[in-house]
């Protein structure tokens, strides 16, 4: 690994709670929007009385959606203090704070007891965790036997990615350390899960990158400086362009994976 692991984790957490991230990504920090989240949540097959964990929950949109759609309780975990604060606020303002709570925590050391939750959701985040086997082992540890994991993540063929998609900026954009979908499946299997289904969702990533590009174009048109991004709008535009090309070539994509803990 070229970048210090702790630095990457802190940078990712800070970046995703920054004004720039809010501007570029809106309140859904993952491809596919609410519709894809809904599919993942349904795959967990949970209901009232169950509790699930949303790992790297960001400002809490998916956690709230899961609770609303299934009636389950949710604990959202994220490394960014600001993101967790926003999520707590969102839960309170929608009157769901009796069932949905959020804590600051590390995906590689979840603040949860062994076999304590009935499902786990992890959207577009594993690619940013430097210790992937550690993170998947944690997911296996906290799930009770029979519970399911719904994982969605950026996928990539690392040897085919262009140079623009290396380095910290691209890492924050979930790209630099993304793995091929079959490697993600191996990671999950090695952690002790049984894979139920694997599916590519590359078009969802293409649409999300296009949205980021439009937001960057808007920023440039209006001559705005975006907090946290500073004068690096042009760098960001270059990364987005390279990512868009890589999606078109099939070197970069998005995948979802459902697995159960025996």
């Amino acid at each position: 690994m070229t970048t210090d692991a702790a630095h990457v984790k802190a940078c990712c957490a800070t970046a995703y709670s920054s004004e720039a991230a809010r501007f570029l990504l809106g309140d859904r920090f993952h491809p596919g929007g609410a519709a894809l989240t809904s599919r993942l949540v349904r795959a967990l097959r949970v209901g009232p009385g169950d509790e699930i964990v949303d790992v790297a929950c960001g400002p809490g949109a998916s956690a709230l959606q899961a609770a609303h759609e299934t009636g389950c309780a949710v604990i959202g975990v994220d490394l960014a203090v600001a993101g967790v604060a926003a999520a707590i606020h969102a839960a309170a303002s929608t009157g769901m704070d009796d069932r949905v709570r959020f804590v600051v925590g590390d995906a590689e050391a979840l603040p949860l007891a062994d076999a304590s939750v009935d499902g786990a959701l992890c959207e577009c985040a594993l690619c940013t965790f430097p210790d992937k086997p550690g993170a998947t082992a944690e997911l296996a540890r906290v799930l009770r036997p029979g519970a399911r994991l719904a994982l969605a993540d950026i996928t990539a063929r690392p040897d085919r990615l262009p140079a623009e998609l290396d380095g910290l900026g691209a890492w924050i954009a979930c790209i630099a350390d993304a793995r091929p979908l079959d490697e993600l499946a191996d990671l999950v299997t090695h952690a002790g899960f049984v894979i139920e289904s694997v599916e590519r969702q590359d078009a969802a990533l293409g649409a999300m990158i296009e949205r980021v590009q439009s937001r960057l174009d808007a920023a440039r048109m209006l001559g705005a400086t975006i907090g946290g991004l500073g004068s690096r709008v042009d760098d960001a535009i270059a990364i987005a362009r390279a990512a868009s090309r890589a999606v078109a070539n099939g070197d970069l994509g998005y995948g979802i994976l459902i697995a159960s803990r025996p």
């Binding site: 809010r22 439009s214 808007a218």
Partner: protein, 513 residues
């Protein structure tokens, strides 16, 4: 005798049955049952009158889009008061009756029937006519008061006609609306007076009037076909006068098949480039009042207009950049907000997944209600330039434009596509949620599409002018043999009478005679 059952195969209908609703006979205006079906990817209404036979008309030319848009159907808001009672049912109790599903976002007051033009296309049947009406200050006061009583703080009133700018008291009327706290006052005009009388434009600036100006294209043939006159210089001078006085303008294009379909992209470009223009509205020509002979199955719909825009400005528009407006029926009106510097054009749909916030059907938690509320103010029939301010001012919003963006109103351009119903396409399902109301001098708020098709317009005009007004019948190809020109240029039919009562499925029980 043995039947040869093997030779007869059952066949399927060639259409998908979507809706069972009510409409009217386009000839006698009797209320009849109607079906809406999908055939070859197009949405088509069919109905039958006992006296005048069967009618079919194109409702929406893209069935996929028609179905998808149903999600953006916002629960209506009750007005403070209704003006009529439910007696005969929709559409005969206008308006508004307590069964109406939505308050009036936009109120229209037609101040006269006189016009300084005699356009071949005019839904209001206006012109240089001896037998029209011209409202008094007392009448307009009653109308504005009725609007305020129904709405509390009405959002938009639009003065129309006739040609409202030639009414001697039009300035007084607009001041009266402002005095009553109505947020936005619009003038629906052909622009001739604005081109030739810059003192009048200065008055509009003083009052803060927003100009809603007919603008159908740039070709001489377009002007002759729709307005009967070459108004190109007047239109340009009117726009320049507005810019000079700081009056904001919406360009309103009436779009007719075979006339000006090819000019839509050029109209948007013209609007984006002109400092006075903040938005463009395209309206497929409403086949009521005066209009060209048309085929109801080949009429233009919102979907056609959106497709034409994407063909003529592919670098700017996709069909998905248009968002159905949730306050009225979502298939009636679609809007696109975009950021532009005159060269690049970035629709807001590329920045935020607007329809995800405006899906009222799925049982899904909305990530941020403040964003939905801001979007509802933008995607509304009462939206006026600057409505995007609500979204941009919203701290938690999905676009979340940083404060550094500052005042970007000058960079926002709005494109609207609005289809009004005619006597062929009228569907009470849409009508019951209509949020554009024609205000009458007796204080009723009649949904605009009912006013133009059911017979209310003829009634009100006859009452105000004291001369009889025959029932207006659409100038459709299939009706040519029974049509004759009426006194104001629209068509009427000798066959129009009380009509045989449509007795299907009404007021009886099984087995009763």
């Amino acid at each position: 005798m043995a039947m040869d059952t093997g030779a007869r195969a059952r066949t399927d209908r060639d259409e998908v049955f979507l809706e069972y609703t009510k409409s009217i006979c386009p000839v006698c205006k009797t209320v009849v049952d109607a079906e809406v079906n999908v055939r070859s990817g197009r949405v088509i209404m069919r109905k039958r009158c006992a006296d005048h036979g069967q009618f079919e008309a194109l409702v929406y030319s893209d069935a996929d889009l028609y179905m998808a848009q149903q999600r953006c159907n916002k629960p209506g808001t009750l007005p403070l008061e209704f003006q009529t009672e439910v007696r005969d049912g929709c559409p005969l109790d206008c308006g508004m009756c307590p069964d109406h599903k939505q308050h009036a976002c936009l109120g229209i007051i037609e101040v006269n029937t006189a016009c300084n033009l005699d356009c071949p296309i005019c839904f209001a049947d206006s012109g240089h006519q001896p037998d029209g009406f011209s409202l008094t200050v007392a009448q307009v006061a009653v109308m504005l008061d009725a609007f305020v009583a129904a709405e509390g703080e009405p959002e938009v009133v639009q003065f129309s006609g006739g040609e409202p700018s030639i009414h001697p008291q039009i300035i007084t009327f607009m001041e009266m609306a402002k005095e009553r706290g109505i947020r936005t006052v619009m003038l629906n005009t052909n622009g001739i007076r604005l081109a030739r009388d810059s003192r009048f434009v200065a008055e509009l600036a003083r009052i803060g009037t927003h100009v809603y100006m007919q603008f159908d294209g740039f070709d001489l043939q377009t002007h002759l076909a729709i307005r009967g006159k070459d108004l190109r210089e007047d239109k340009q001078r009117a726009l320049d006068n507005c810019a000079e006085h700081g009056v904001t303008v919406t360009l309103v294009g009436a779009v007719e098949r075979g006339v000006n379909e090819h000019e839509l992209g050029a109209i948007v470009r013209h609007g984006v480039a002109h400092p006075a223009v903040q938005s463009v509205v395209f309206q497929p020509v409403t086949h009521t009042g005066r209009h060209r002979v048309f085929d109801p199955l080949e009429r233009l719909t919102n979907a056609c207009v959106m497709r034409l825009l994407t063909e003529q400005l592919p670098e700017w528009f996709r069909v998905s950049d248009f968002t159905p407006v949730p306050c009225c029926f979502p298939t009636c009106r679609s809007m696109c907000y975009a950021l532009t510097d005159g060269d690049s054009f970035i629709p807001f749909t590329r920045l935020v997944d607007i329809e995800e916030y405006l899906d009222y059907v799925s049982n899904r938690v909305i990530p941020d209600l403040a964003v939905r509320e801001a979007l509802e103010r933008m995607f509304s029939s009462s939206a006026t330039p600057g409505a995007e301010g609500a979204l941009l001012a919203c701290e938690d919003c999905g676009i979340d434009l940083p404060a550094a963006f500052g005042d970007i109103t000058k960079n926002v351009f709005t494109t609207v596509v609005q289809d009004f119903q005619d006597a062929y396409t009228l569907n009470v399902r849409q009508l019951m949620k209509c949020c554009v109301a024609q205000i009458t001098p007796d204080g009723r708020l009649i949904p605009f599409c009912a006013y133009n098709t059911v017979g209310y317009r003829e009634q009100v005009r006859a009452e105000l002018s004291g001369s009889s007004v025959p029932t207006v019948v659409p100038n459709a190809e299939q009706l040519q043999s029974i049509l004759a020109p009426g006194p104001h240029g629209s068509m009427t039919s000798g066959a129009a009478g009380p009509g045989t009562r449509n007795a299907t499925n009404v007021g009886r029980r099984l087995g009763s005679p």
